[in-house]
Amino acid sequence: MYKYDPIDQQIVNERVAQYRDQTRRYLAGELTDDEYRPLRLQNGLYIQRHAPMLRIAVPYGLMSSKQLRKLADIAKRYDRGYGHFSTRQNLQLNWPKLEDTPDILAELATVEMHAIQTSGNCIRNITTDQFAGIAPDEIIDPRAIAEIMRQWSTFHPEFALLPRKFKIAVSGTEKDRAIVQAHDIGLEFYKDAQGQMAIKVWVGGGLGRTPILGTVIREHLEWQHVLSYCEAVIRVYNIHGRRDNIYKARIKILVKALGIDEFRRQVDEEWAHLKDGPLTITQNELDRVAKYFEPMP
């Protein structure tokens, strides 16, 4: 699995220090509820019915035994001795004390974990098939691209305040065990006629109040362009998605309102500026990240 490099570790550590100070100021009465709310949400802390809830990110559902032991110890020490795995492959703690959360995040950082972007109107944890890399029916293992996308989406400055939350799922199998059609963007990996890894891109799926299955916006996307293409999709959504009505704010409503052809046209127009730019993934970069996902046996 992916291992943090010094830069990854540094930004997670810095985030913990920043959040510790924000929480200290809130508890000292220097920040109001309204001022503190977005800060805690950016770090996965909700205030629920009875207690705070901390949602810890498990990128594409992959964990090491060391990380799980840390989660066990955190649940024991700071919560009621259990956790809850969510339908987005994350772990939720139901009873942490608000004043303990900076320490919890500091503990998580020691095992390359955090709760960043597990809530709020940003790109959330990318989900995938739990049998990625081992399933006999898998055509492409999507985890290396998922990791590259995780890095791209984490702290993405343009997409920190989207009209609404944004969920991406990736899958490289025929059956699809990641419900790619029920996501804001679903990426279905396959091998094209030339034997190259390619992506069928679904957009505008989602459950919730208005359940809609996604529509294919692009049948064949070369993997090198997955970041620039997703950036174009989300940029169009960020500009035109509705912010006046929370129930109509997801990308699925925009795609329905514009129609898939008009939406695609706008995305392509945006993409023309981004394609072949710095977001292009090189073979070297893919190989570098893919090394972390080599088959175990």
């Binding site: 629920q48 992959l62 964990m63 035994s65 799980l68 032991r69 001795g81 339908t87 399933a135 046996p297």
Partner: protein, 243 residues
């Protein structure tokens, strides 16, 4: 294996194929009957971490179905994994069955909830707390959300249950025919919603129609797709009126 039916049942439901010969994936069920789906204690997390170290290269995965997976287990280690998982309550042989319920935290925890979801899941699990009957029913995905935000993916459950608020009390709307996968579909509402107490009985009656109508080897979802909601609806609400 033939001499140990409990192990055989677990292998059938909780062991999944692997592309490398001699290896299998193991799904550790976080759905023991009568407990909140997806919950795991600190002690169980330690057991899973130890299993991952001993038998699966120190890694594990979580699934959107809210179970944990040891992805790379050698065939010859399966029995040992089963014994240890079973001792920790992580080997309920129900993966992919009716009691492997996807369930959001709902009204017990979530501020947005219209209704509780965990007690509904638990009541259904207890209603169907008979492995032989569960195996006879076969593959079936039942998903529960406590409100229309749909964290429990109820729309794509073969049976979906949605908590709704009617005049301040908790009710449940039932859909059937939803499905995940490359032939995904959104379920159809069968009719007016039910009280919490009615829910296990409603699921029982949906299953009765399926068992009565199914062709050989036909899964619940395929029977629903073939027949539509009408016969299911008729049976569920007929019973309701005479009850």
């Amino acid at each position: 294996m033939a001499s140990n039916p409990a192990f055989a049942a677990w292998v059938k439901r909780c062991v999944q194929p692997h592309r490398v010969p001699g290896y299998r994936a193991v799904t550790l069920s976080l759905k023991p009957h009568g407990k909140a789906p997806g919950d795991i204690t600190s002690e169980q997390m330690h057991v899973v971490a130890d299993l991952a170290d001993a038998y699966s290269f120190g890694e594990l995965r979580s699934s959107h179905e809210q179970n944990l997976i040891l992805a790379d287990v050698q065939l010859s280690d399966l029995f040992a994994v089963w014994e240890k998982a079973r001792a920790a309550g992580l080997a309920t042989p129900n993966i992919g069955l009716l009691t492997d319920i996807i369930c959001c935290p709902g009204g017990d925890f979530c501020s947005l909830a219209n209704a509780k979801s965990i007690p509904i899941a638990e009541a259904i699990q207890m209603q169907f707390d008979n492995l032989d009957y569960l195996y006879e029913i076969g593959d079936l995905e039942l998903n529960i959300s406590g409100c229309m935000n749909a964290c429990g993916h109820h729309h794509v459950g073969h049976i979906g249950i949605l908590g709704v608020d009617k005049d301040g009390s908790e009710w449940y709307q039932v859909t059937i025919g939803g499905k995940q996968g490359n032939d995904a579909s959104i379920g159809t509402v069968i009719g007016p919603s039910f009280s919490a107490e009615e829910m296990p009985g409603v699921v029982k009656r949906l299953i009765e129609v399926y068992v009565r109508e199914r062709h050989d080897e036909e899964r619940f979802i395929d029977t629903v797709r073939r027949l539509g909601v009408a016969p299911f609806k008729a049976h569920v609400y007929a019973e309701k009126e005479t009850a």
